[in-house]
Subunit: 601 residues, 2 copies
């Protein structure tokens, strides 16, 4: 027999000393739905004793912590996040979420894959293994989003890449299959990726998941999508949508992200309609650094969800059902037999909160190790060393000049397509506007809030680019540029004048990734995102500060959007309606698919 | 991509015709906990459409059944049964339970293993594959129960045998680890079997289970037992016991067997205390042929459980929670991703009942095939051909005579140990009684209801035997004999006189297994159990009739026990307190373990 088990048995009989005893805990037993008072005893990486107190068997190596009645919850499980949105490196991201009780994260490194492909994914997997966070990954299934004639990302993930990446132990499936029209119409490319995942189940022990993404899909098309073997979805925005997806077999993740916040509306429906919660999870999808650090991670979601529950009269759903959404339910979805509950032989992943209303974090045990305790200075992770291709991902050989952004027209009145922003949404509208060219040129017009936008390829060294017009971004002077631009993450720049746009690009090239805010030819604020042009290699608090500073600078220039750089980050995504801009073209999403369209009509 | 999935997608879009459409169903959606009206569409072995009606896409090969509002429930899952207790061959057992809505059975062929070892298990696996029942097996972990100097069974299952049996696809784990003292004290033999199961997880796709058996175990000893990796238990008799086991991490099966009926008491506790039900299952453990055929299988358990639920005022637990205990919860325990729920891409295993109160079976779909429909004559399975070693398992070369059962004593008053039966229980007591030998011999005394009992080895040809005394069996004349004697299944005989005992043995030898009732030297009733001396190869209805006839004959001879042959069947089991008899000795279970004891004191 494996020594580990015999050691566990002997420890539970008091024959050998435990490593860690958490005394006087209010143990949240998600299995039977009760709070039980007692101790949790840990040997190695596992829980070997529950309720009975093993303090008497301690030796001088045993650590004993009196929790004074605080609540021990199974370590929280994040079922779907793109950690790139945190703008932190994985090591820093891990440190932050562990402090909020999260001990397991399933990460879909979709952004990184678009920039650096397979080698980027491999790098982040290796980095993750050096942290205390139990880190799993899914292979991004749709890299690039569209590609071909429409856009050029830094890399392509083919079905062969899916196959080879699935060989990694901590890759546990295929990431959200966003190309749902492709699935429903049996496009070979996306079906091949799903197929590779099926096949890998044959040699992998765990049941590989195939995660979904199908906003508003319903009826027979939804059925067809699920028939491809899709297992989950996190895109529900309405209760009826959730109910149909659930009843046809999908696990549904209630999204509580920084921008997309569906959890509370959906949960309200679930409670009102008494929908069973066991196949419901809570996910973040995307969390910006500020939210993650100041508000929290899944602990924050729990706080809001429990508050919502308490506002209801006699709900059948209880607080255990809520907690299960970030513990047991997620563990079942991913087939983690030893996670998501506090039971004998479970992994010792434990989140300790002051109570289960405020969910204020007190301590976190990850894999048997105390990794966070309030008011205690904990050992920090050594800095991870990143290779040059990660730190130098802005590959533009071309030198730009203001003239590159000129929009010429000899017409008297020139009609043009303008990307019109819709407040707090990532969808845009096409707006046909009339311009009066001056000296054969259309310029930005701050009075009508129409600015220039350019997207420049930063992957292929050629620096090919597209110029367009955008309405609703709010700048009155200067320009901003960013290397975060879903999904291809080319360099985007928006400006009131061509000269400042040119300066902003130069600043980004100097920084090798990040956000630049320029006024009158001078950089007034910047945030370095050295890691693939997406994430900061600085301390989390520094990253948050820099993020606040660039946002403040944007507002100084007249900006009015609440999350300008997030909004800007989605202007390159051509699969989202209606009008978007990539390094190759203005792209309009029509009912029959995407089309390249001209700026001037 | 696997053709099957593409075919499913195309069928769900109406591009190709379905095989079977169940229209107008009340679909029990255990995922969200709702009844939903609509259709179920099946292609091949899977559900490819739910709710939406696909009748319009039918072709002439499509079968369409209008359920007229009847209730479609996921095919029921039996998580733990020794099908030998049904006294039916596997083919017949399968036919019977399929008619009651059971589509998956996890069978622990513990009795067969004690008689015929590995080859018996292999035979029944092969037989099961020819039925429509989804049949899985666990490797019996404790064969023989005790062995060594205490008893001799027909076979031993070693840890090497466990290893080789686990290679079978439909063997999904290690059967109930009854030797819980052995686990707690780290006995190498039982730990080695558990260890082989762990190791097999490395090459088997599904997560192999390790099932438990630990009646009344609690506190640190229970913790130690679970630390060995034990995952489930079906031996709870009290609510508090269930709660502790559940809260420490075991799945708990509420047993609703023919003799051991714990379900209702436990369920009452669960409802009253509002214990979460998701890790609760319902199992049969043992069902006799009469109960199985006249009352039903898990449908009968559902009927009783729902009736109990309806007697309660405002329980938080609802009818879906009850149904999940025999569907979804079991599927989760065994890691059956595509069973236990009616969802897109689930296996088309469906139990159709008139309603979810009476649970009167209307039809059963197993793996996409209609295998039972009320008032329809369904194709029957061809008879399975059993080899000679199965049909000739009473291997006793010795010729017996009445004198073999003589108990000699020259004392005036002879004290002797008597096995004292306790009504409706399998535990016995040791009773020290005083006898007045007549002509140097102690005889059965029907006035004080003390009879003779003998157990004869039927496996090793030698026919070694032990003679003892038993109180409470009730016979006033004649003798009964049976080849069913847990766990070694040697030949047991109980009689009022030595001559009838001798005749009963001869009749059993002639039949090659079964039950014989003898009066005045003549056989008055018998039940042939040709299959390993445990099961009947006849039609289920014939087996039930024969079983009733031998019971009636027992009562004609003065018998008073309600299930005499079941009670008799446990008299050989030395691990159950207090006094038992095997082919080798009278065995007394003491607090420090089993001991061979003498008949006369």
């Amino acid at each position: 027999m494996d020594d580990r088990y015999e050691r566990s048995i002997r420890c539970s009989l008091g024959e050998i000393a435990p490593d860690l005893v958490l005394r006087n805990a209010s143990i949240v037993d998600v299995m039977s739905g009760k709070i039980r008072h007692g101790a949790i005893t840990i040997k190695g990486r596992r829980i070997v004793g529950l309720y009975e107190d093993y303090t008497e068997y301690a030796d001088r190596h045993t650590r004993i912590i009196d929790l004074e009645g605080r609540f021990a919850v199974p370590g929280l499980i994040e079922p779907h996040i793109h950690m790139e949105s945190s703008m932190l490196t994985f090591s820093n991201f891990a440190t932050v979420v562990l402090q909020h009780g999260t001990t397991t994260v399933i990460n879909d490194p979709h952004e990184l894959a678009n920039v650096l492909g397979k080698r980027g994914i491999r790098h982040i997997i290796n980095e993750a293994m050096d942290t205390n966070l139990r880190s799993y990954f899914t292979v991004p299934s749709c890299v690039p989003a569209l590609g071909g004639e429409f856009e050029e990302s830094g890399a392509v993930i083919s079905s062969d890449d899916v196959k080879s990446l699935l060989l990694y132990n901590n890759i546990i499936g295929l990431g959200e299959v966003m190309n749902y029209p492709g699935v429903v119409h049996c496009f070979p490319d996306i079906l091949a990726k799903i197929s590779e995942t099926y096949r890998a189940r044959g040699y992998k022990k765990n049941n590989l998941i195939i995660d979904g993404h199908c906003p508003t899909l319903k009826g027979k098309e939804l059925t067809a999508y699920i028939n491809a073997g899709i297992m989950g979805d996190h895109e529900c925005s309405k209760g009826e949508e959730l109910e149909e997806k659930l009843s046809k077999g999908l696990y549904v993740m209630l999204r509580d992200g920084s921008s997309a916040q569906n959890m509370e509306e959906l949960l309200d429906y679930v409670i009102e309609k008494d929908i069973d919660t066991r196949r419901l999870l809570i996910c973040s999808d995307d969390k910006n650094p500020h939210d993650l650090i100041s508000k929290g991670h899944l602990d924050h979601s729990l706080r809001k969800a429990v508050a919502l529950l308490k506002s209801k009269k006699n709900p059948r759903i209880n607080v255990f059902d809520i907690i299960r959404m970030v513990t047991m339910n997620a563990a079942e979805f991913f087939d983690f037999k030893y996670l998501g509950k506090l039971s004998i032989q479970s992994r010792a992943d434990i989140a300790i909160f002051d109570d289960i209303e405020s969910f204020r974090p007190f301590a976190t045990i990850a894999n048997g190790k105390l990794v966070y305790m309030r008011d205690e200075i904990m050992p920090y992770f050594h800095e991870y060393s990143h290779p040059s291709y990660i730190l130098n991902s802005v590959n533009i050989d071309r030198d730009f000049s203001p003239a590159d952004f000129r929009i010429s027209s000899n017409a008297k009145i020139q009609k043009a397509r303008v990307i019109k922003l819709i407040k707090d949404q990532i969808v845009t509208e096409e707006s046909i506007e009339e311009f009066v060219p001056v000296n054969g040129e259309i310029k930005a017009n701050v009075d009508s809030d129409i600015l220039k936008i350019a997207v420049i390829n930063r992957h292929n060294h050629k620096g090919n680019f597209t110029v367009g017009l955008i309405k609703g971004f709010g700048l009155k002077e200067g320009a901003v540029a960013s290397t975060v631009g879903h999904d291809s993450h080319n360099l985007g720049v928006i400006g009131t004048n061509d000269a400042d746009m040119d300066v902003a690009i130069e600043e980004i090239k100097k920084m090798q990734g990040g956000i630049a805010v320029v006024k009158n030819g001078r950089l007034i604020a910047s945030m370095e995102l050295r890691f693939a042009g997406l994430m900061s290699v600085e301390e989390p608090s520094q990253a948050v500060k820099a993020h606040l500073l660039v946002d403040r600078a944007y507002k100084e220039l007249g900006g009015t959007l609440s999350s300008a750089f997030l909004t800007m980050g989605f202007l390159q995504l051509p699969v989202i309606p209606e009008l978007k801009i990539t390094d190759k073209a203005l792209v309009k999403m029509t009912p029959t698919g995407p089309e390249k369209v001209s700026l001037l009509l």
